[in-house]
Amino acid sequence: MRDAVEHLERIAAVARCEQAPRTGVAAAVLCELRAQAAAEERPMLIFALGSVAMAGVFAMAGLYLFDSITDPLALLFHTTPVLG
């Protein structure tokens, strides 16, 4: 009785001649890579916009404080009640 696994070697020799179906993946690959690249850029864009917004808030707060500190009468005009 011939060995079953040796028999497989003979079948494999025939099987190796099979031609695989043709594929055409170039366009899909490049499209997927572009989509991945765009997805990676989105968080960075959100972070950049957030940073600009925060910078604007701090700039306005800083200007207000600067005005208060450099003008000694600013607080007087802001807090002195009207007499009379």
Binding site: M1, R2, D3, A4, V5, E6, H7, L8, E9, R10, I11, A12, V14, A15, R16, C17, E18, Q19, A20, P21, R22, T23, G24, V25, A26, A28, V29, L30, E32, L33, Q36
Partner: protein
């Protein structure tokens, strides 16, 4: 800029390890040239398609696997050191992609697929069609655990020896031998129980 980057890969072509056209297109791809990577795909798609057909007999899945191989290749391209031909590096990625596919399928299905019924044994003397033989072998190997299945698939379909399989997967040669032995023993039992090969 692209020309300078291409020149940076020339040493690979000069050493004879990497074909000149591959070295040029790799350099250009890394510089962001889509057409260059497209050329690499066109050059190797047939080869990789042939290899991935051993991992599935479904055409849609086959196309997805080939696509996945080239996406992974692009994402790993910076790591290509040119210590072997580009084809070898690509085949390694392809094998690991296919193996991962089997592992995920095995997790969903359970470790090994039961052998419900063998397809008709193909004729070898005279030989039947290559597709019949490939289908038969594929169904038989599908009953094995992914790691055992991979070892015999690479042996039967790509005629790799144990050292080549070990190099392809980063396994030890001893491990490959053990898996091959275990897989063949299981196949032998199944075939003899079914009355085949006699």
């Amino acid at each position: 800029m692209a020309h300078e980057l291409t020149l940076g890969w020339e040493h690979l072509a000069v050493a004879g390890l990497v074909a000149r056209e591959d070295a040029d297109d790799i350099g250009l791809s890394l510089a962001g040239d889509e057409a260059a990577f497209g050329r690499l795909i066109d050059r190797y798609e047939g080869l990789i398609g042939q290899q991935m057909w051993r991992f599935t007999r479904d055409r849609a899945t086959h196309e997805e696997l080939v696509q996945e191989v080239f996406v992974q290749a692009y994402l790993s391209l910076k790591g290509f050191r040119g210590q072997a031909p580009f084809e070898h590096w690509l085949r390694r990625i392809a094998t690991r992609t296919g193996y991962r596919f089997w592992q995920e399928a095995a997790k969903r299905r359970g470790r090994e697929a039961p052998l419900d019924a063998l397809p008709a044994e193909p004729s070898v003397d005279p030989p039947g069609t290559a597709s019949e033989a490939a289908e038969y072998l594929f169904v038989l190997l599908e009953t094995l655990a992914p790691q055992d299945r991979l070892v015999l698939t690479l042996h039967y379909f790509e005629q790799l020896d144990t050292q080549e399989i070990a190099d392809r997967m980063g396994w030890s040669r001893t491990l490959v031998k053990v898996r091959a032995h275990r897989a063949r023993a299981k196949l032998r039992r199944q075939l003899e129980a079914a009355g085949y090969g006699g």
